[in-house]
């Protein structure tokens, strides 16, 4: 019984506990509830803390407290709750506290609905809170990745001393797929900077205050350098038959899965098409997209929103290749057939002379 059929939301909690997470602080919201419910069950059994907070504001500040005290801590919510957590995320990043926040996104704005959407991209990937900070963002597309990326999230959070957000959607949270767990259970010791109520840590201070402009600039530059390191070291993506593709689809999370089936369908008809599925949304796989632009004639970004990640794709390509967009929102999930039809239309209206022959030569020269 190595693989087990498991909901993505449950896989997150199991992955977290295996990673050594011993504190979960949450407030109910659909479609993230199973995460808190599983944590309420498994945390106490694993020697950890589960605490239902009075709000997401309190929840993220509990994460702040637990992380200050040197334990691996997390929370999970959906768009409306992530909005309330923005303040806390800014403080966590400012105080360089590691933590994991899961966003099982739903339809917005406002109360919107509880159906899956990808409209939290700007909020989660671009910050949400105040100040020059970034959250590292991982975007799982399967129950297996819910487990694996959650575990990775804790390691990244500790390594960079920064919040890491796992951004998924209602579908990935609710669906069951086979999941297997690898790697021994971990329980890292309290970091030496943490405040644990002992003689050794008495001199420690967790704070996001830098009163003097020069101090704050130094601090912000330090954060910036850290993000640069992450940009160089942590980019993850899935390249699915994109190396020789003329048309490159770009989509993350569940959309990436749907796009894969679009690629398979259209390859079956002889179309030269591939997929880039960003797994890290920050840092974004900009270099990979840029690389493919020397070959690809056309990029098509598909999102369950009116277009948010597309801005990062455009920035990455910087005009090298045309970028089109197809999106559904409101909780509607684009069907593979629907996307395939869009691709066919795109192809029909395409101009092969748009190929970037000159740059292609250059790449060849550089090996």
């Amino acid at each position: 019984m190595a693989k087990q059929l498991m909901k993505g939301n449950e896989a997150i909690v199991k992955g977290a506990i295996l990673a050594g997470c011993r504190g979960f602080y949450g407030y109910p919201i659909t479609p993230a509830n199973e995460i808190a419910e599983a944590a309420a069950y498994f945390m106490p059994l694993s020697g950890g803390v589960f605490l239902q907070a009075e709000s997401e504001v309190a929840a993220i500040n509990m994460v702040y407290g637990a992380s200050s005290a040197g334990i691996r801590a997390m929370t999970a919510s959906s768009g409306p709750g992530i909005s309330l957590m923005s303040e806390g995320l800014s403080y966590l990043a400012g105080a360089e506290l590691p933590c994991v926040v899961v966003d099982i996104s739903r339809g917005g704005p406002g109360l919107g609905n509880i159906a899956p959407e990808q409209s939290d991209y700007f909020q989660v990937v671009k910050g949400g809170g105040h100040g020059c900070y970034r959250g590292l963002v991982l975007a799982p597309a399967s129950a297996q990745e819910m487990a694996d990326l959650t575990r990775l999230a804790f390691d990244l959070a500790d390594h960079y001393r920064n919040p890491v957000i796992v951004l998924a959607d209602g579908i990935t949270g609710q669906m069951m797929e086979p999941v297997e767990f690898k790697g021994e259970p971990a329980l890292p010791p309290a970091p030496e900077w943490s405040v644990t109520g002992t003689a050794e840590t008495r001199g420690n201070l967790v704070s996001s205050i830098c009163l003097e402009p020069d101090d704050l600039e130094r601090h912000v530059r330090k954060l910036e350098a850290k993000y640069k390191r992450a940009e160089a070291a942590e980019v993850r993506f899935e390249n699915w038959r994109a190396d020789d593709a003329e048309i490159v689809l770009v989509g993350y999370g569940i959309v990436g899965r749907i796009l894969k089936s679009v690629v398979e369908q259209l390859r079956g008809f002889g179309m030269n098409i591939g997929l880039i599925r960003p797994i890290t949304l920050y840092p974004f796989p900009a270099a990979e997209l840029h690389r493919l632009a020397y070959h690809a004639r056309q990029f098509l970004v598909v999102e369950m929103s009116t277009g948010q990640m597309i801005e990062d794709v455009r920035l990455a390509l910087n005009g090298l290749a045309p970028v089109e967009f197809f999106g559904r929102c409101g909780g509607n999930v684009p069907a593979a057939e629907e996307i395939a039809a869009v691709v066919r239309r795109l192809q029909a209206g395409s101009h092969p002379e748009h190929r970037l022959e000159t740059e292609l030569d250059e790449v060849a020269l550089h090996g």
């Binding site: 059929l5 504001v57 008495r202 899965r257 089936s261 593979a336």
Partner: protein
């Protein structure tokens, strides 16, 4: 600024020199006559008396006391405005051996942080809260606080606080005392030496309660803010004694310390090696075995019906069985209000190759457990697909010549077996006759995993067998 050092009787709980300050490291940043300075001394003394300096973690707020960490030689955590009780709650639970103090002003605690303090108190967190009530926002320059007295002119009540517009001074000690969570709430004042002595006793008790593990203690400290009140130190103390104390009456508002049962020492967590068992998982070491399937399978199934017909469970058994047979699978339910409206449906994929999209928008198999579901999904079925319908016959307007339609009253058949709710499993039995790649043994093991009681397992096994029988082509 003159570099003088206050050497007389400085508590060892204060740093000898305030190195975290950028200048004037021999003195605090508080104004002369400020109550925060006195409250700090009382707290330092209590920490020292109780011998808990190493264990103490001070959570400082946003307000004039935001820099409490300049002074206290203890563990220090600086919290966002109003959130200190949430931070402190989590610190205490993460480190039960520590002594956690949430130090807050009235804007911080009684306005922006009113939810956090209410719930920390109500949970009876084993923390100590020092609530410095100076009836004004000090740090931001004198705006109205929730505790500002009626008639008082602040920068945001230039005509005086008016109850009709601004509401009333908020009595925190009284308000929190109606809760069952706290063990000790006292209001004290810093209006003269005698009051300060009493305040010191209260602070000490509030800390001692935590040391003993008794639970939530809060001391509200009526505190002078001469700078904003535009009074000299002497007049400010008088205002504490006469003005503030007349609205916020000093006294003990809650004392359950005698009845309170000390919290048990936290038990150490389980051994790490026991974690997989607790999580109900087996760790898979080494390379993961790729699914080995007997034949090429690619089943795209949509199942739909009323809630209670076992739509989701039927899908789950199929997915479990597929996985057992070495195939890749996915199961995706509809969720949310749709479920509550009484209908439910799920997408199941079972494939000998890795499943790409878990969504089944063009099903090869539709299992419709009721008529609305048949109507809703029939047109989506792939030409050449299979439709099973829970009814005697397919309504005329739902027929499609290009799909294989099988109508059987599965619920009635299950009823004959003694359990109408097993209609979904009768349908599963029928389906298994029509599809390939999922061995009987896999289905049986899947049932055993999904079905929780022996009685139901037996019913379901009979239902499967019966389903196979009724599935001869009509």
């Amino acid at each position: 600024m003159a570099n003088y050092t206050t050497v007389h009787e400085k508590s060892p709980v204060f740093y000898p020199e305030y190195e975290r300050k950028s200048e004037a490291r021999g003195q605090t940043h508080y104004c002369p006559g400020c109550g925060h300075g006195i409250a700090h001394k009382l707290l330092a003394q209590a920490i020292d008396d109780l011998g808990i300096q190493d264990r103490t973690i001070l959570v400082s707020p946003v307000g004039c006391s935001v820099f409490a960490y300049y002074y206290f030689d203890t563990g220090n955590i600086q919290a966002a405005h109003g959130r200190a009780p949430a931070v402190a709650s989590a610190v205490k639970r993460a480190r039960p051996g520590s002594i956690v103090i949430s130090y807050q002003g009235d804007g911080d605690l009684a306005a922006i942080g009113s939810a956090e303090i209410l719930h920390a108190a109500n949970r009876g967190e084993n923390i100590t809260v020092l609530f410095v009530n100076n009836a004004i926002y000090g740090m931001t320059g004198g705006q109205m606080a929730p505790t500002t007295l009626l008639g008082h002119k602040s920068t945001t009540t230039p005509f005086g606080r008016n109850a009709v517009n601004d509401g009333y001074p908020l009595r925190v000690a009284e308000t929190l005392s109606v809760l069952d969570g706290p063990v000790y709430i006292e209001r004290v004042a810093l209006g003269n030496a005698k009051q300060i002595l009493q305040a010191g006793r209260a602070v000490r008790r509030a800390l001692e309660n935590q040391v003993k593990g008794l639970g939530f203690s809060l001391v509200e400290i009526l505190s002078p803010c001469p700078t904003i009140w535009k009074l000299d130190a002497h007049q400010a103390q008088q205002h504490v004694r006469e003005g503030l104390s007349s609205v916020f009456k000093p006294g003990v508002y809650c004392d359950r310390t005698k009845e309170a049962v000390p919290r048990p020492e936290p038990k150490p967590g389980p051994a790490l090696t026991g974690i997989p068992r607790i999580l109900g998982i087996e760790l898979n070491e080494g390379a993961s075995a790729a699914p080995v399937a007997a034949a090429s399978v690619d089943l795209r199934i949509r199942i739909a019906g009323f809630g209670g017909q076992g739509v989701l469970m039927l899908g789950q058994v199929l997915a479990e069985a597929g996985m057992d047979a070495g195939l890749d699978v996915s199961w995706l339910p509809s969720y949310g209000p749709e479920m509550r409206s009484g209908t439910s449906n799920c997408h199941v994929r079972i494939s000998s190759r890795p499943v790409d999209s878990p969504l089944v928008t063009r099903p090869a198999v539709l299992l419709a457990l009721n008529e609305p579901s048949l109507r809703k999904f029939i047109s989506s079925v792939e030409p050449g697909g299979l439709v099973m319908y829970n009814g005697r016959e397919v309504p005329g307007d739902c027929r499609r010549p290009d799909v294989d339609l099988l109508a059987r009253p599965f619920t009635e058949i299950a009823d004959e077996l003694g359990e109408p709710r097993a209609g979904n499993i009768v349908m599963l039995g029928a389906l298994l006759r029509r599809i390939e790649g999922i061995p009987d043994a896999s289905v049986d093991r899947a049932l055993a995993r999904v079905v929780k009681t022996q009685r139901w397992l037996e019913i379901d096994r009979k239902a499967i067998a019966r389903g196979r029988e009724v599935c001869h082509v009509s």
